[in-house]
């Protein structure tokens, strides 16, 4: 079995959960690792899904709808000029892209977060008390909307105790505890460099699979609350040779996505 990077592992695993004929939403990321998690991995996962079991699935990058996701068409940078000229089937206003959420038609919202708690609440607003924060983060963007309306939300985050906390300091994305009045399905899957998690019937985070080579103790030691751990935990299926070939030759040979080269600040999830 070939060697693969964690970014490739995650892109392949995420792609398995994308349904055919659905729209997914990918936002801006900031840069660096956050970009790889919020944008890079979802972009490659979407193309992989289109090339296998979900040929009619579509992705929306803000106002850009259903862009061509093969390497030659991906812009070199995310300068506005390059994004405007990125081949896509449609461009829409951001207001209209939000309407897709509100009307309940967004299949998957891709998010990341500084904190995610055991009920799937997400926080990208502040560490500490909202009125006197220890660290003020940039703000919630459309995350409240993702968690209110999307059929499913997928979070790609770092697996450590600072991120996976018992209770978030601020709810910018509403989890599974209180969904009265909300139409969307909320946080469905969490992908980290160690594992994949879903949620049990009580809405609490549950271990779904661990990546090859990761031990249960490793996962427990890096989680800031008691994960629901089933009797038998599967191993995340690694990428196949064919999938790696697709990523490396057709989708992202220049690693614009998986190493954030498009942001002009390349990095990896492991350094």
């Amino acid at each position: 079995m070939e060697n693969y990077t964690i970014e490739e592992m995650l892109a392949v695993e995420v792609s398995r959960h994308i349904h055919n004929d659905e729209m997914s939403f990918v936002g801006v990321g900031t840069g660096g690792k956050a970009y790889i998690r919020a944008v890079g991995i979802p972009a490659v996962a979407s193309r992989l899904a289109q090339l296998s079991h979900a040929p009619d699935s579509m992705i929306m990058f803000g106002p850009i709808i259903d862009p061509v996701l093969d390497s030659d068409s991906i812009p070199e940078t995310n300068n506005e000029y390059d994004l405007i000229h990125w081949p896509c089937r449609s461009q829409t206003t951001v207001y209209d892209s939000h309407v897709v959420f509100k009307a309940g038609r967004m299949g998957v919202g891709f998010v990341s977060g500084a904190q995610v708690d055991q009920y799937g609440n997400i926080n990208i607003v502040c560490i500490g008390d909202y009125n006197k924060p220890k660290v003020r983060l940039p703000g919630s963007l459309a995350q409240p909307d993702h968690l209110a309306y999307a059929k499913r939300v997928f979070a790609i985050i770092k697996h450590d105790k600072r991120t996976l906390v018992e209770h978030v300091d601020y709810i910018s994305g509403c989890g599974n505890e209180h969904r009265e009045g909300l139409k969307g399905g909320g946080l469905a899957l969490v992908f980290t460099e160690l594992a994949v998690m879903d949620f049990n019937d009580s809405g609490k985070m549950r271990l779904k699979s661990m990546h090859p080579g990761v031990s249960l103790q490793n996962v427990i030691d890096n989680t800031g609350f008691a994960l629901d751990i089933p009797e038998h935990v599967m191993t995340t299926e690694p990428p196949s040779e064919e999938q790696l070939k697709l990523i490396r030759e057709r989708i992202d040979p220049k690693r614009k996505w998986l190493n954030a080269n498009i942001t002009q600040e390349p990095t990896t999830l492991t350094n």
Partner: protein, 300 residues
């Protein structure tokens, strides 16, 4: 026959109409097409106690906050995209120097859409069970009279002034966007319609004949516009559609200066106070440098 009203004024005159203690709506989003030339002039004129409104903001909010012009600010985000966080915004929130009112992209937009349509409130499901629901002064629980579903009613926004950067305008105030543009900033159109007064800076002043010949680009007919100011590169360092890119180098420099309050003060002194006006600022940035980020002079 009476003379037709013209709206073309100097930067100084336009900004003089912005009063202390008023509400200022800043158009543009993320690192795209915020009206930075107008913001520089607001800083030069030493405005006080402004309440800022936006839906997705960056160096525009950060600079005003750092200059202590701001009492309260409303948006879903203040950040410098892949350059990093906005340091003045972060410091001001952590030290409780301004009141920050959290929004999502839709709640900010919906309040502006309602305001632009003469409605007194917008409805949304986003604030239900979200951290932003603590802001009771603009949110009330509401039940749909037809289905009994829960919603949040959000007070409409009608800010005192909106400032916006666009591609072209004629002297009568007909404002145009470029044909090929990033659709993030179509929000500017309804934002302007929500405000009581609108000041637009443009890359180029064109004749009325030019506007008529390309009328499909007129996004704000003159009835929505109070003042027009000519400001080439008026969004710098933000991008402006197909005209010029985000100035990554300058943004990084701004970011370095903003590391400390003192460093930020020096940046303002050097780039805004000492340059006296927008032309002075562009001279300081240098046309050789601007050429590097320029894609086309008249848009696409």
């Amino acid at each position: 026959m009476g003379e037709r009203k013209t709206k073309l004024v100097s930067m100084k005159e336009a900004v003089e109409t912005i009063e202390d203690n008023s509400g200022l709506l800043i158009c543009g989003s993320l690192i795209r097409r915020h009206p930075m030339a107008l913001i520089h002039e607001i800083i030069r004129q030493n405005k006080k106690n402004l309440t800022l409104y936006g839906w997705n903001n960056s160096i525009d909010f950060d600079m005003l906050i750092g200059c202590k012009v701001v009492k309260e600010a409303n948006s879903s985000y203040v950040g410098l995209a892949n350059v990093g966080v906005c340091k003045n915004f972060r410091r001001a929130c952590e030290n409780q120097e301004i009141r920050w009112v959290e929004h999502s992209e839709t709640t900010a937009m919906d309040r502006l859409v309602a305001g632009s349509q003469g409605l007194t409130f917008a409805i949304s499901k986003t604030p239900l069970n979200n951290g932003m629901k603590v802001n009771k002064e603009y949110q009330k629980d509401i039940i749909c009279p037809f289905t009994g579903e829960k919603y949040t009613a959000m007070k409409a926004w009608n800010p005192d002034v909106a400032i916006l950067h666009a591609a072209r305008a004629d002297k009568y105030g007909n404002v145009q966007f470029d044909r090929r543009r990033m659709m993030d900033n179509e929000t500017d159109i309804f934002m302007a319609k929500a405000a009581k007064k609108v000041i637009v800076s443009v890359e180029e002043i064109v004749s009325e004949e030019a506007v008529i010949a390309t009328n499909e680009l007129t996004v704000l007919p003159k009835m929505y516009v109070d003042y027009v100011v000519e400001a080439p590169y008026g969004a710098h360092p933000n991008s402006c559609d197909c005209r010029y890119d985000f100035d990554l180098e300058h943004a990084r420099h701004y970011q370095e200066c903003s590391e400390t309050a003192e460093g930020f003060k020096r940046y303002i002194q050097e780039y805004i106070l000492e340059t006296k006006d927008w032309q002075g600022y562009l001279n300081k940035i240098g046309y050789e440098h601007l050429k590097k980020i320029t894609r086309s002079f008249h848009g696409e």
